[in-house]
Every structure is written in structure tokens, then in C-alpha cells.
């Protein structure tokens, strides 16, 4: 951890207990993850469904109770805070969700939704100030103060996500955690919202934790990227080097699988199915080993540690 760390996630773990086929299974959604988010950066978290990226965000925000670890912000472990103090901390760390349809109350006006956190914590000194700050937040996301009196059903998906962003930035947070913020949007709208996030980050001096399944989106918007597989971080690197020269075989697989708008790399025929193992099975060794072209004996017995192979590049692979 360096001095400019805004959020220091240490050894965070979260398991879910699932009953399937008459047996209890433990799914380690977040398995001993450590990450330091630096002031002013965009840290991308990427991985496929079930890799633990959303559980990580929820555990950090206290939306689900972590089993172990620390989440340190401003010198305080958020996981030890009582409800009241946690709620105050959440004014400094705000979240933007995937589904702008589900995350806005259909019966509340846009202005009331944007003002909600401010209302709860009494940050507005007068109704005139409330109106001014809501209008300002709506201006910043490109909607304009006039949207305050509208209702979610009157808005398009892109406009709703802008409202979600306005709601996040109103209390002037330090850190915004965006969980799949553009996944539900059409490509042309997705580009608009990504640009908005990048612009707000610069203008407001935000730090952004950007979570997505889409590596090309993550690589575009992020300064650094952490790749998750089965609840663990398998690689962390600056975005472009990671995309150009992945060091973990899973990152490589992920990059190769991205559909590129380039007909010179054609899909020619079927290959045998190759899918992640069941999350119910507890594997010793490396979680990726069954799918890995580089696997050797050690991969079956020893779980690789995340180690720094070059300044700023971390990989958890015995053969990186």
C-alpha cells in the first residue's frame, strides 16, 4: 500500500452456502482477494459470470457481509463500522449499478432519486440548495436540470444510466464503484456513457472501480486491470500491456475469445466444449489448471500466489 491508496482491500473473502442435490456446497465467491485502489485511477475488474466481481463490489460496499478481510478507507476498516458510520462512508464511496431500470424507483421523480442520499444524510441546507445541487449533478451527466421533474418511465436506457451516475456523484464522492454500468445498453449508447464516465472522472477528480465482463470495454476505460477467475485475482497489470501481452493463460484465453470486428479472423469450425469447472467443486491447486495449456504437476497441488513478475505486473501462475 502506498500513500495514495483510496481503498485498500485486504484478504477479502466471501462464501455462499448453496444446497444442491441434497448436499450443502460452499461456493467461495471471493477467495482471499487483495487490491489497492489508487487515488485518481480507474481500476478495471474483469471476469466471466461467477468469477466474483459483483460479490467483491457488494462486499466492499457492505451490501453483503464479508467472511473475512479488511476494506480500509481513510484509515478505517469499513467492515467494522456500525450501520450509521457505514452509511456516512457510503457518501464518499458511491455505486452505479448495471440495470438502470431496476435501480430507479419508478414512483419517484428523477430529482428525488438523485437527491436521495443527500436527503438521508441532511447534506442540503435548504430546498433551494437541494434544487441547485440536483440540477448541477444532472447537468454534469449531460441531461440538464430540467430532467429533475421527469419519471424513470419517460427515459431511455441511456438516460436512466445517466440518472444513476448523477445520483452517484451528487455527494461529491471520492470513489465510484460501477458494476457493469454499460452492459445493458446498446453499443452507440454504451460509447456515450463510457465517455461520460471518463470525462467526469477527470473533471471531478474521481477514482473509479469499473467492473465488467467485457475486457475490451475495461481495457479502454481503465488505467490498470485486475482479471478475476473463480474468486481469485489471476493477473493485475496496466491496461494496455495487459491487453497486448497477457501473462496469465486465462487472460490470454479471454482476449482471444473477444469477438473482433475484423473478418480476417474467422470462426471456422467447432472445438470441443471447454468450460469452467463447477463452483461447487473445491479444487486444490490452481483454479484454472483443467483448462490450461501450460499445466504441469505442481498446478494440481499448489495454488499459485499472486507475484510481481515485472514492476506493476502481477500474475498468479507457476509458469508465467
Amino acid at each position: 500500500m502506498t500513500d495514495d491508496t483510496v481503498l485498500d482491500i485486504r484478504n477479502l473473502s466471501k462464501a455462499y452456502h448453496v444446497r444442491r442435490g441434497g448436499k450443502n456446497h460452499e461456493v467461495r465467491a471471493v477467495d482471499d482477494i487483495s487490491l489497492a485502489v489508487r487515488a485518481g485511477e480507474t481500476l478495471g475488474i474483469v471476469g466471466e459470470s461467477g468469477c466474483g466481481k459483483s460479490s467483491l463490489a457488494r462486499a466492499v460496499m457492505g451490501l453483503t457481509r464479508a467472511d473475512g478481510g479488511k476494506v480500509i478507507h481513510d484509515g478505517v476498516d469499513l467492515l467494522t463500522l456500525d450501520r450509521r458510520s457505514l452509511a456516512r462512508a457510503r457518501l464518499r464511496i458511491r455505486m452505479v449499478f448495471q440495470d438502470p431500470y431496476a435501480s430507479l424507483d419508478p414512483r419517484r421523480s428523477v430529482g428525488d432519486s438523485v437527491a436521495e442520499a443527500g436527503d438521508i444524510h441532511g447534506i442540503f441546507e435548504s430546498s433551494a440548495e437541494r434544487k441547485r445541487l440536483v440540477g448541477e449533478a444532472l447537468d454534469r451527466v449531460g441531461l440538464g436540470a430540467g430532467f429533475a421533474d421527469r419519471f424513470p418511465h419517460e427515459l431511455s436506457g441511456g438516460q436512466r444510466q445517466r440518472v444513476g451516475i448523477a445520483r452517484a456523484i451528487l455527494p461529491e464522492p471520492e470513489l465510484v464503484i460501477a458494476d457493469e454500468p454499460v452492459s445493458a445498453l446498446d453499443v452507440s449508447i454504451q460509447a456515450q456513457v463510457l465517455n461520460l464516465l471518463a470525462e467526469l472522472k477527470n473533471r471531478l477528480g474521481l477514482t473509479l472501480l469499473f467492473i465488467s465482463h467485457d475486457l475490451s470495454v475495461v481495457a479502454k476505460i481503465s488505467d490498470r486491470v485486475a482479471v478475476l477467475y473463480m474468486g481469485r485475482v489471476v493477473e493485475i497489470a496496466p491496461a494496455r500491456p495487459l491487453f497486448r501481452d497477457p501473462r496469465h493463460p486465462y487472460t490470454e484465453l479471454l482476449i482471444q475469445a473477444i469477438p473482433r470486428p475484423d473478418p480476417s479472423t474467422r470462426i471456422t469450425g467447432a472445438i470441443e466444449p471447454d468450460e469452467p469447472p463447477s463452483r461447487f467443486a473445491r479444487l486444490a491447486g490452481c483454479p484454472f489448471r483443467d483448462r490450461c495449456p501450460r499445466r504441469t504437476e505442481i498446478c494440481a497441488t499448489d495454488a499459485p500466489e499472486l507475484r510481481e513478475i515485472e514492476p506493476g505486473r502481477f500474475v498468479s501462475c507457476h509458469h508465467a
Binding site: 446498446d186 453499443v187 475490451s216 479502454k220 484465453l253 473477444i258 473482433r260 470462426i267 467447432a270 466444449p273
Partner: protein, 327 residues
């Protein structure tokens, strides 16, 4: 906008119009052909009418939505106004369809084998269902077929469920497969595998495939020909290589520009300003005019003619990007 073919098309859609309550047009004069063994990628954003086009071809339009104009020919036979049950045994071939979310198409309380065999009994009475079911699972490359036949849908991964749906679709020995965003709910690594399977089945069974997607990357790597749809109409069609090398319609070019390219130095993405019109907002002129960087007065007046190029592309635009397209 029909492309040139060396073989007769297996599916031919011409000037198709689909409307809600006979008034609001949600598909506006769409035409395309698909040859056996060919994948046509129909690409567009949500609400552009791509799914309604495919449901019209399947005869599965919801109540109050109907075909008001145009023809759908399957193996040369007009099936435009036939209900699905009237299409069986006309000797013109069959259309099968797979959807985005296989879990909503599978019955959660029936074993996989029973669901495949049910489709076999309906369409293929002369075979032994259990034997054919095993064969179909092999065709979609589900490993350990005998064991998987007794599994329930929830016991399979999303990728395996989509393979089961493809097996059920193949049970009727279709000559055309319509795939509506079949890999959108899957992870990228699994998506790649299912796309490879669709390509292989298209080639080996000589099926025509109408592949509907919002993902230009998938289209580029999988489709032989591409049709780009916007606000109910096709704006551009062409072979995949020339179309991606030099898109002619400003919307096609705009969509390509919106894709994040991690190798580019520009921190910002290109965008298309505004959003697509609702079907009741589309007037007579070009529906893309309000968002178009090349718009002129003529674009807002009357229908836009289709222009063809020597590369086989067709574009519905007064000011296509290469400037050389002839009428």
C-alpha cells in the same frame, strides 16, 4: 436489397412489412436472401425490428402484430401467411429457431433426453427417438451424451443448455436455422465455442442460417453476408469482408466507431449522438437523418433509394461514405 447468389436461396424475404395493429410499422420493407450453407448476420440495436423479422419468418408473431406486405419464400414456397402447423410437410423444408436464453425455452422439470425425444417424435416419426437423441447430442458435441440425457436443465451450464436447444432445433432436420442472439447471455470463452458449433452445423448440414445479433464483432467473424438494420429497415447489406473494410452507410460506420478499441490512443470513443427513433416517430425520410453527420435536406424528404456497388454492397443512403455507389 438482395445480393447476388450462385445457388438458389433457401429463404427469400422480399419487401416484408410487419405492423402493430396494422398501423405502426416495426419492420419496413425488409428484403434478403439466404443460400444453403450460408450465414447471414442481421445486426442492429434493440428495437430495430430484427427479432420481429425473424418471428415473422417463423410464423410466431405475437397477437396484434402481423405481416401487412411482402413475401417470405422457404424453398420456393410462399409461407408468409401460414401458421406454424400448416407449414409441416409441404415439402419446402423447415425453419427452426434458437433464442437468447435457453433456460426460458427448456422445461425445468423434464430431463434433457425427454425434451429432445419429444421434438423427434413430432418431426421424425420414423426413427428411434432414444437413438436419434444420442446422435443429436453428439452433433452438438455434448460430451458424455448418455449421461447428459438424464440431466435436468438446471444441472447444465449456460453453454451446454444452448447446445441442447440447438439439438432440439436440429430434430426437425431444418433447412433454415434462425438464431436470435443465441450467445448474448454466454461468457465470451463459451460464446466462441457455440459460434464455432453453429458454423460447423451450417457447413455440414448445408443449412441456411439467419444469425441475429447486436454484436458487430460476432458478425464479422461468423457471418458470410451482413444486413444492417436501423429503425425497422435495412440500411446496408453486403459480403462480410468488403462491408467491414469499407462500410457505406453512416450508421454502419458509426456503429463500428463506437466499439472500444483498446489499442487506439484516443481516450474517448466515437459516439452516435442521440438515440434511435420509436417506430411511431419514423417518418417518410431517412430514419437515421436526425443522428447523421452527413445529413442534408433531401434526406428528410421521401423514400431513400438503394444504391449498389461493384463490391456487391447495397446501401440505402443519399450520401454513402465512398461516394462512388451508383443507383
Amino acid at each position: 436489397m438482395t445480393g447476388a447468389h450462385t445457388t438458389d436461396p433457401i429463404l427469400s424475404v422480399s419487401d416484408l412489412v410487419v405492423a402493430v395493429a396494422g398501423r405502426i410499422k416495426i419492420v419496413r420493407g425488409v428484403s434478403f436472401d439466404i443460400a444453403p450453407g450460408e450465414i447471414l448476420g442481421l445486426v442492429g440495436e434493440s428495437g430495430c425490428g430484427k427479432s420481429m423479422t425473424s418471428l415473422a419468418a417463423m410464423g410466431l408473431l405475437p397477437p396484434a402484430i402481423g405481416v401487412t406486405k411482402g413475401r417470405i419464400l422457404l424453398g420456393g414456397t410462399d409461407i408468409t401467411r401460414l401458421a406454424p402447423h400448416e407449414r409441416v410437410d409441404r415439402g419446402c423444408g423447415r425453419i427452426a429457431m434458437i433464442f437468447q436464453e435457453p433456460m426460458t425455452s427448456l422445461n425445468p422439470v423434464l430431463r434433457i433426453g425427454d425434451q429432445i425425444e419429444e421434438a423427434i417424435r413430432v418431426h421424425d416419426p420414423d426413427v428411434v427417438p432414444a437413438v436419434r437423441a444420442r446422435e443429436l447430442l453428439d452433433m452438438v458435441r455434448i460430451p458424455d451424451a448418455a449421461h447428459q440425457l438424464s440431466a435436468f436443465p438446471h444441472e447444465l451450464s449456460g453453454g451446454m443448455r444452448q447446445r441442447v436447444m440447438i439439438a432440439i432445433a436440429l430434430a426437425c432436420r431444418p433447412s433454415v436455422l434462425i438464431a436470435d442472439e443465441p450467445t448474448t447471455a454466454l461468457d465470451v470463452t463459451v460464446q466462441r465455442q457455440v459460434l464455432g458449433l453453429i458454423r460447423e452445423l451450417c457447413d455440414t448440414l448445408d443449412m441456411g442460417v439467419l444469425f441475429i445479433t447486436h454484436d458487430l464483432g460476432v458478425v464479422a467473424q461468423l457471418a458470410d453476408r451482413v444486413a444492417v438494420m436501423y429503425a425497422g429497415g435495412l440500411v446496408e447489406t453486403g459480403d462480410v469482408v468488403p462491408l467491414f473494410a469499407a462500410p457505406l452507410h453512416p450508421y454502419t460506420a458509426g456503429l463500428m466507431g463506437c466499439l472500444p478499441d483498446p489499442d487506439s490512443d484516443d481516450p474517448l470513443l466515437a459516439t452516435i449522438p442521440g438515440s434511435a427513433p420509436r417506430p411511431d416517430e419514423v417518418g417518410d425520410g431517412c430514419p437515421f437523418a436526425p443522428r447523421c453527420p452527413r445529413v442534408a435536406d433531401i434526406c428528410r424528404r421521401g423514400a431513400v433509394p438503394v444504391r449498389h456497388t461493384d463490391t456487391g454492397q447495397a446501401v440505402r443512403c443519399h450520401f454513402p461514405l465512398n461516394g462512388e455507389a451508383s443507383t
